[in-house]
């Protein structure tokens, strides 16, 4: 069972690493952010698989931290994207 779980962890990690091609190709910032979000979730999944396979309890805590950081990364992206847009729409309203 340990070998199967580790193999699954490597497979999931390879899949999300392949998804990083989307960061190269773009075209928009949101597409790049989506690939980063998939990397976050895939990283959590492979950490959980590896942690359960090896019986290392601390790895599960690392996955929990990664889940929290991935959430904050997405929210920060949206915050940064929407701030100047609001200014533009305010100017358009004035004009």
């Amino acid at each position: 069972m340990t070998e199967f779980l580790l193999a699954a962890a490597i497979f999931v990690l390879a899949m999300v690493a392949l998804g990083l091609v989307r960061i190269l190709r773009g075209p928009g910032d949101a597409d790049r952010m989506m690939a980063a979000q998939l990397l976050g979730t895939g990283g959590i999944a492979s950490l959980l698989l590896a942690g359960t396979a090896t019986g290392e309890a601390a790895t599960i805590d690392v996955a929990l931290t990664l889940a929290l950081l991935a959430a904050f990364a997405s929210f920060t992206f949206v915050k940064a994207q929407s701030a100047p847009r609001q200014d533009e729409s305010a100017r358009e309203d004035d004009a």
Partner: protein, 97 residues
């Protein structure tokens, strides 16, 4: 009983890994950002969920299993919120340009 639980782990983790494969394929092959967001959220919620459900029989204690479920719940909540927010950014960009 043990063999049944192991079989469940193999089936659920394999299904979760296939969903990650589908998510990556969708992210790379779908034509626009909205459909890519759709592919991403399936991999996020269901892929990780199946991996967590598959791992539940393999953990030592009840608290370790609850921790796995908590991580899944956190990813579900943050993924749902983040995809709504990203879709709103995309929609605003498309209607303004």
């Amino acid at each position: 009983m043990n063999a049944v639980l192991d079989l469940w782990t193999v089936l659920a983790v394999t299904a979760g890994a296939i969903l990650f494969l589908a998510g990556t394929t969708g992210l790379l092959r779908f034509p626009d950002a909205y459909t890519r967001l759709h592919a991403l959220t399936k991999a996020d919620n269901l892929g990780l969920g199946l991996v967590v459900l598959g791992l539940l029989p393999q953990v030592d204690s009840v608290s370790a299993g609850l921790k796995l479920l908590c991580i899944w719940a956190l990813v579900l909540l943050s993924g749902a919120t983040a995809s709504q927010l990203i879709a709103r950014v995309l929609l605003r960009r498309d209607t303004h340009s």
